[in-house]
Structure formats: C-alpha cells, structure tokens
Amino acid sequence: MAEITLDKVVKKYGAASVVHGIDLEIAHEEFVVLVGPSGCGKSTTLRMIAGLEDISGGIVRIGDRVVNDLPPRKRNISMVFQNYALYPHMNVRENLGFGLKIAGESPDNISKRVDEAAAVLGLTPLLDRTPAELSGGQRQRVAMGRAIVRRPEVFLFDEPLSNLDAKLRGQMRAEIKKLHQKVRTTVVYVTHDQVEAMTLADRIVVMRDGRIEQVGTPMEAFNHPRTTFVATFIGSPPMNLLPGVIAGGAVRLADGTTVPVPDRLKPHARDGRKVTLGIRPDDISPVGHGLSQDGPGAEVDLTVELAEPLGMESLIYTRLAGQEVLAKLYGPRIVQPGEQLTFRMALDRAHLFDAETGQSLRLD
C-alpha cells in the first residue's frame, strides 16, 4: 500500500519560505495532479516527496513510513523529469535496465523486464538507439519506461509533457492515462496546464504561492471553486469576474446593472456586502444560442467587440459594467463586431465570492 501523506510540510531556502505548510493525503493508486502557475512550489513539493529536496518542516509519509530522512533510493518511487534525464552514454535498453542493474537483478531477469516494459510503450524497435538518436516523443516514452520497469509503489511526474508539441502532448496524455489503468500505482503529477490536470486527475490540487488553494475532483474544482483564483485558473477560457454590491436580493454591478442572486446563495447575500460575481463564458450567450434556456437567468443588452468563430461555436468579447467579458455563442451563426445582441446570463451555475478574501460565499 502506498498512500502518501504530507503533514504541514514546509520548504525554506535560507530565510525565504516557498512552501508554507502543506497538508495533503493521497490514497493508494490514486492519480493526483498538482497544478498551479509557474513558481507556486509544485516541483519543490514533488521533489520533497522524491527525496531530492530537504524537507524544512513537517512530515512526509509514504505507506506507513516516515520518509523525511530517507534518500530517494529507499523510497520505492520513480520519477519522470521534465527534460527526461535519460543517460546519454547508454542506449535505450541500458537506460531502461539501469535501475534493475543497480538493484542487483540477474541479467536474464533484467532483459525480460526491459522487454516487457518496451513492449508496453512500443519501444521495442528502439532498444539499441542512444537518446541522441530519438525524437522528443520517443525520449518521453523511454523516460516513462524507465519509471515503470522497476515497478515502484509511487510514480512522480514533473511536467513530463511540457517539452512536446501540442499534438504529441495530447497523445501522450492519453497514454499516461491508459498506462495508469494498466499499471496501477499511486501517481503524483505536476503540471501548470489545467487541461492536463482536468483530464488526468482523480483529484487535483490547485496550488498558489506555496499554499494549497483547493483539493477535489476535477469537476468539483470546476463547478465549485473555493476562491476566485481557482475559478479563473481552472476552465478555459477563464471565468468572468465582475465586482458588485448586494442590494435587495441582487448583485448591483458598477454601472447599475442588477443580476438576481440565485436562491441557493441567498442565505449568504447580506445587503451591502461587497462581492465578486463569477460566471463562465459558457453561461453568457445571446438569447436562443445558449446551453440552457430555463432556470434562473438575467438578460442584458451588450455590444460585440470581437468574435472568434470556432466552427460550431463562437467566442464573443463584449463589455459589461466597464469590464471585458467573454461570452459564448452556440451554433454556426456568424457575429460581427459592433453588433448589439441581448445576452442571457444563466445563473444556476453562477458564483459569488467575497470581494475582500476571494472566498466563495457558500463557504461562509
């Protein structure tokens, strides 16, 4: 069993603290993705789990062992690095078998397991090449092969796809998912790409400035963001955020436009409270061209500033209460800049955040 527990884990470089006491429990065979903007401490956290970085405070457990003072080789993990870190002076076969050789496995056993791993990843024809003779995608595969061949309890990935082009990234993403279904292990995967996080994760951990902002399934993070940060970080294009004040059961925006507060949020909407209204582009659409026509809603007349047709839908840039707002039009209709349309805001998925703390009102 390889559950991973982080208990108030801190990382300091000198006086500067970059990870501020993280608590996280990762279940056996769970696929957890740490996601957040560059510099938020994802890699540092992962490297503390790996044993490549000293832990300044708190406790890291893998299985039932406290691993704080164990070197990487004693943690029964394997790791895929962003730059793949293949050994340049060894061919693919030797790269894959290196860990087994160090562990003192017999040559027969090594070659059997290398062949198995190579077959799983389609590397069999490449076994005699050196890393320099491989394409980016092939190197990536070798790096994954090297990780699985030792059959560790935990896989750690640090931005493994960020050096690939968009198409290959999509393919490898699917392969990693498949691989996890085949080789069930606990996975901690670091990325700054929210699409990767959404598609791969059993649970995602949204990080910001060395703290965990939210932990949950991808759909929880998408549907119930706890903060404005998560709301804008998860989902593409990002959620629109409009500042306003609660007045008489509605949010009054800067220009006086009022948007009714949905019933489920009413208990938190004291009059006079300063809030941020969050609403995804998918929920603002020209009347008759939205996802949902019923449920609570509000209509506003807005002018199209720019439209990006994407085929069956268009992304519309418009302006509400003096602020740029993204909307979506579903259907193959062409929209021109300058066109005035009535938009319907579907409010059953709208969010309200406290203007000061950025916390969702539903958490009060």
Partner: protein, 289 residues
C-alpha cells in the same frame, strides 16, 4: 547566374587564403620542432654549418649512442634516471592534480557554499603568478623542510601548479551535465557516490582526460622550477638534464637535440592515446567556466 559564380569564386578564394594562413602558422610552429628532430640525427658540425643544411647529409644515431654511453669518447648522461624521475614526478603529480581537480571541480559545479566566488577567483589569480617568481620562496621553504632535491618536493610544486587549471576545466564539464541525470540515477537506486561514478564521471571523462594530458605535459616539460629545486640524479628531470650538455665553453647541440627527441616521444604517445577524448574535451568543454 553570374552572381552565383562570383560568390563561388570568392568562396574558393577565401578557402585558399585560409589554407595558406593555416599552412603559414603550422610552419612557424613546426619548424623549430622539425629542426630539433633533424638535428638529433646528425653531427654537431652539420648543425652549425652556414648556410644551414636542412636535409641531414650523413644521418646518424651517434648522438643517441653517446647519450646512453654507448659511444667511445663521452661520459654517459644518466638518461635512464632522468627519464624515470620525470615519469614518476609527472605521473604522480598528474594523478593527484586530477583527483583534487575532480573533487574541486565537482564541488564548484554542484554545491553552493560561502565564499565560492572568491575562492574560484583566487585559484585563477594564482595561475597568473609566474612560477619562477615563486622559486626563491619555495626554495627557502623546501630547504627548511628538507625536500630540496627530492621527487616529493617537485611533485608538490607541480600539483599546486596544475590544480587551478584542472579544477577550472573539470568544473566546466560537470556544469554541462544536467543535475537531473544524477537525480534520476538516485531515484533509480544509486547512492550519490554511485550516481557520480556511473553517470557523471563517464560523461565528464573527456574533459578529465584533457585536463590530465595538460597537467602531465606541464609537469613533464617544466624547466624553471625544476632547475632550482633539483640537483642530483635522484630527482633531476629530463628538461633539467638537457643542461648536462652545456659545458663552460661549449654546448653539445647534437646531444641536446637527441635528448629533446627522447623527451618529446612519451608526450606524443600520450597525446595520441587520448586523442579522441582530447578533441571531444577541447571542443565541448572549458568554454563555460
């Protein structure tokens, strides 16, 4: 069309010019060496002839015979002892300088520590001091320590002469090896020590070989300090032995040239042996410092 032809001829001209320049440089560098080698195989009279005689008219091994005491008219010079002294001193100092260079280069490349920048700068500045300027202080200290005219004395001098250079060169090589390779090896089950020997050392091998050749040649050819610190056959090296050919009023040029050839040969052999590494080392490494 004509444009293309023109650029082609100008390209050819450029190439011809470069070839000529390379040739000229090679001549400037090689002629003295060639003269030494040629002179090793002819009598003194022919060496001093005016106008110079280029191609030996009466090639002979007499000079070598004389050195090894096989001739009739001259006392033998203890070439064998000098050679062994040179070999022991150069090899030992090279091995030690490489060991320190690897440890120091690795430390500079991989670790942060206080005063790192100034220590590195200090090492490089030490190289700027001409060795001969240190000869008097070294002589005094060595004689107090009683290691004048010993191999150990010279080895210590050569190690300190070579260490800044080996550290600098090897540091450049380790720097180019991504840290993640060693980390991957540690995740794969290695200790830090194993990761070094199995991953980082093989990748830096060319640079280490290059540093070794330079250190060896420096020690092998060094004259100024050796001539101050050695005086008997128990520690005199080959370059110092060259002086045996000068008497108060005469210089035996032919014997000296023959001895020079004996000095050059091991250096050439070594350079050829590690040629592959040397070229890889010189073209990839040392650029970043």
């Amino acid at each position: 069309m004509s444009l293309a032809v023109e650029s082609q001829t100008s390209k050819q001209l450029k190439r011809a010019g470069l070839t000529a320049l390379t040739f000229l440089l090679m001549v400037v560098m090689c002629v003295p060496g060639l003269w030494v080698v040629l002179s090793a195989f002819r009598p003194n009279g022919e060496i001093l002839a005016k106008p110079p005689i280029w191609i030996p008219e009466a090639p002979t091994f007499d000079n070598f015979r004389k050195i090894f005491g096989l001739g009739t008219d001259q006392v033998a010079i203890p070439v064998g002892s000098y050679f062994m002294n040179s070999l022991i001193i150069a090899m030992t100092s090279t091995v030690i300088a490489l060991a320190i260079g690897m440890a120091g280069g690795y430390a500079f490349a991989r670790y942060r520590f206080r005063g790192k920048g100034s220590i590195f700068l200090g090492l490089m500045l030490f190289r700027a001091v001409p060795g001969i300027a240190l000869s008097l202080p070294v002589f005094i200290i060595w004689s107090k320590l009683g290691i004048i005219d010993t191999k150990i004395g010279l080895i210590i001098v050569y190690v300190s002469l070579n260490v800044p250079f080996t550290i600098w060169l090897i540091d450049g090589f380790f720097r180019q090896i991504p840290l993640s390779l060693s980390e991957a090896a540690q995740v794969d089950g290695c200790t830090r020590w194993q990761a070094f020997w199995k991953i980082e050392f093989p990748l830096a091998r060319s640079g280490i070989a290059a540093a070794g050749v330079f250190a060896f040649l420096t020690s092998w050819n060094e004259f100024a300090l050796a001539s101050q610190l050695t005086r008997s056959t128990s520690s005199k090296t080959l370059p110092v032995g060259l002086l045996d050919f000068t008497a108060q009023f005469t210089i035996d040029w032919a014997g000296m040239c023959a001895m020079a050839v004996i000095i050059i040969i091991p250096a050439l052999i070594l350079t050829f042996l590690v040629q592959k590494h040397l070229i890889a080392g010189l073209t990839f490494g040392g650029v970043k410092g």
